[in-house]
Symmetry: C2
Subunit: 189 residues, 2 copies
Amino acid sequence: MGNLYIGLVHYPVKNKRGDIVASAVTNLDIHDIARIAKTYSIAGFYIIQPMPSQKRLVKWIISHWTEGYGGEYNPIRAEAFDSIRLVDAIDDAIMEIRKETECPPVVVGTWAGYSGATIDYEEMSALIRTEIEPMLILLGTGFGMADEVQEICTYILEPIRGNGDYNHLPVRAAAAIILDRIRRTTQTD
Amino acid sequence: MGNLYIGLVHYPVKNKRGDIVASAVTNLDIHDIARIAKTYSIAGFYIIQPMPSQKRLVKWIISHWTEGYGGEYNPIRAEAFDSIRLVDAIDDAIMEIRKETECPPVVVGTWAGYSGATIDYEEMSALIRTEIEPMLILLGTGFGMADEVQEICTYILEPIRGNGDYNHLPVRAAAAIILDRIRRTTQTD
């Protein structure tokens, strides 16, 4: 239960043309994914963002909702924001989890259009249930994580497919669906 | 496949104090739920909003993304916006579906804290598979739909529970999880 982490990756990601860039933070991603992570008892929600101006923005949003007026007005939101951690790079998230759990995390990548070998949601649930190692699920922003991130992934998660050809879910919706699929299975066992 | 509709209800809903109000439209609700609905092949996404100023806003957003600059810049978003329909009241959505399908829809309500008798996701999937009647799933904004809406619901859907006590998902995330649970089961049959 306590060993599942997620990371929202803003670097390295692709832009519309396929160049590798650092993407800007979306306020709603932070709010929605924090609430989703809290609902599914995620141990930590990493915002992976190296740009100083963007990091300042994230810190401002977090402090507004945990210490500032937002936290007083909406204590339920403050509770969701508790699990947020801001780091510069994927490696920093991995190191922090390793330090916290005394074990390197299994890194699971997600790419909407991935066509190679993947792990499915039932296998993922089974892995989480064993709780031998912590797990870090990486979600990309922009037009998806750079391909080089695949090198550090132990598994790549089966892409979400709907019922038609349209395959453009917001990362917020993908986070909700992935955690529900993984945790819901765990819950009913 | 083609008989499932969703409605995002802005009136009648509760505010923080439990008063019945019309809630304001959230731009991101429209974008995210349109993309989620398109992914899961929903026949129509009703935005239920009676306030004239708010209706103008919704029309402006839709036309920007389907006819205006947004549609040219992002044709994939325009495709998602295709299924949006703006109506004043839940009854108008019901009447329109009845006209389109020549059958009154089964109305399914969703309340996060509902504790009475509910239908679960497997039963819902089975109902949709039969495709005898169209179905309209209503999602509340604000602090949830007014209790009086229960009178027109044939079923109330089992609330989404996570793995802890935190039960405050954004309506965008609830829409993603509900459609994935219902449609994913359908898909694997």
